[in-house]
């Protein structure tokens, strides 16, 4: 893919990724999550697969490793995983399903990368801690996926960010929509 095209896509992603990148590796007091450098990850990814990037699922673990499932645009019935571990990208790794979704279900399930507002994430994490009443809770995982039961349409048919946190006394998770609005709070 031409460099200009990559630049356009990154520009389209906007300042969002800059902020996400800015918090990469940050260890701010009370927010002990080392954000992955999403700018670097997506830049490397787009250089390899081109645009558009259609996200089946994005998951960040406690250690800041990222697992991104995307629809293969050359073979839209297939989903590949791309992993990012502190600067190193690996993929495509074929995703194996117990029951493979149809192309229609996949087309419905995926989320355009450009619609994901990454800079909201630090604020969403802060909100999650507040909503759970756990200011020092640690990130267990942060995930984004459409809530349609992996390709099968359901009542929660929107992209949902899930931030799962834990502390010595409690586990909890808060769900947000793409605009960062709280959808659900679940504390044990």
């Amino acid at each position: 893919m031409a460099k200009t095209a990559v630049a356009k896509i990154l520009l389209a992603l906007g300042a969002s990724l800059m902020l996400a990148g800015a918090v990469a590796g940050a260890e701010a007091p009370g927010t002990d999550y080392g954000w992955p450098n999403l700018t670097d990850f997506l830049k490397q990814l787009i250089a390899k697969v081109g645009a558009p990037v259609k996200v089946y699922k994005l998951a960040m673990d406690r250690d800041g490793k990222v697992d991104l499932w995307i629809q293969d645009q050359a073979h839209p019935d297939l989903v590949d995983s791309w992993e990012y571990d502190h600067g190193a990208i690996e993929g495509p790794i074929p995703v194996k399903f117990d029951h493979y979704p149809s192309i229609a279900a996949l087309d419905h399930h995926v989320i355009e990368l450009t619609t994901i507002d990454f800079p909201r994430l630090p604020a969403m994490l802060a909100t999650a801690r507040t909503k759970l009443g756990q200011p020092d809770a640690r990130v267990v995982f942060i995930e984004l996926e459409r809530g349609d039961s992996s390709g099968f349409i359901s009542v929660t048919d929107t992209p949902i960010w899930t931030i799962a946190l834990d502390s010595p006394r409690h586990d909890g998770r808060v769900e947000f929509d793409l605009q960062g609005r709280v959808l659900d709070v679940d504390k044990d």
Binding site: V95, K96, D98, Y100, D166, P168, R169, H170, D171, D188
Partner: protein
Amino acid sequence: MSTRTELHYAFALAALCALDVAAADAPVAPAHPLDAPAALKAAFAERIGHPVNVLSFGFGEHYAQALVQNAAAPDEFDEYEAVPGRPLEPGRPKKAGEVDCRKKIAFAALDLDAGARALAQARAAAAANGYKTPDNVTLGADVFCNDFGWRAILTSDANDDAMLQIVWAPDGTSPKAQELHDGGWRKVDVAKLLAGSAKVAPAAPKAEPKTVAGDGRKRDFRRGIDADLARLEAEVGAPLGFKHIGIDRTQLSVDVFQSANRKRVSTWLVGDDGAIKLWREDDTIPFDCNKPFAAGDFPLAQLPDLVADAPSRIPPMPQAQVKDVAVYRSGLCGRPHVYIKLEDERGYGNVEYDERGRLVSAQIQ
């Protein structure tokens, strides 16, 4: 030694001293807790240091453990442990979500004398009836969050299946006993138990599984099973009435209705070295399809070809491998069909042939 290194040592020593001071300040568990339950309770009370409720308390001579709830903050749970003669460690937080049952008593009502009496009674009952000596008793609720009290579980070396439970009220009164029997609980008279008249039942003799040694020839059952079915039929001594045949590369599993009792099913396994083993025998399941089929009712001779051909039936899975094969009656007790499961790096596929080897369906799962 440099000044900086000396400083590091000094800091480390100071930290260790601080730990020692902390441990020295901690209450110490009595050396013989069962003989000094009041002292053990006092040590727990001092270590906890604030009003709590007790959800469970494990009590024996070697170890005691408490799960408590902060009386002022019902969402806070902590675990404390005591080892005889050792200072009690600070409590460890327990996640609220891991506490399934919240039946409790106030710490003030915790009666460790009663626990010690219950343990002594449990040990007497165990000795009188052939059970192993229990290590401890536990105050708490059962798995269904009922029946809060002191609880002892007795097991036996002579019978792995034997289990007897005695439960006392938190004050050590009203003992009740029940034993595991046929998958359920059966009441046992405590008076008889204490008198030694409720002996542990001897273990039922277990028949050695019937086995036939292999012939040493390595098999891949996906390439044919007819010879091994003939060997199995010779072993059974009657024509095989199949319920289910399962095939993978290294194992052939055959469920056959017993010729003497069609309400029993034997499961035979054939290993890839040809060894035949009777693995299990079960009753048939009511309303299941219990109509046997014979070797002539499905395409036995064609089976290797059907298996080899299956991957080509699903073009989007050109690299698929055969995972396993099964033969059983289709639908609602219809004719026996052949079901072949395929697998590649992205998922699974299923190919079905009918009783004459004709393709019924081939699709990605």
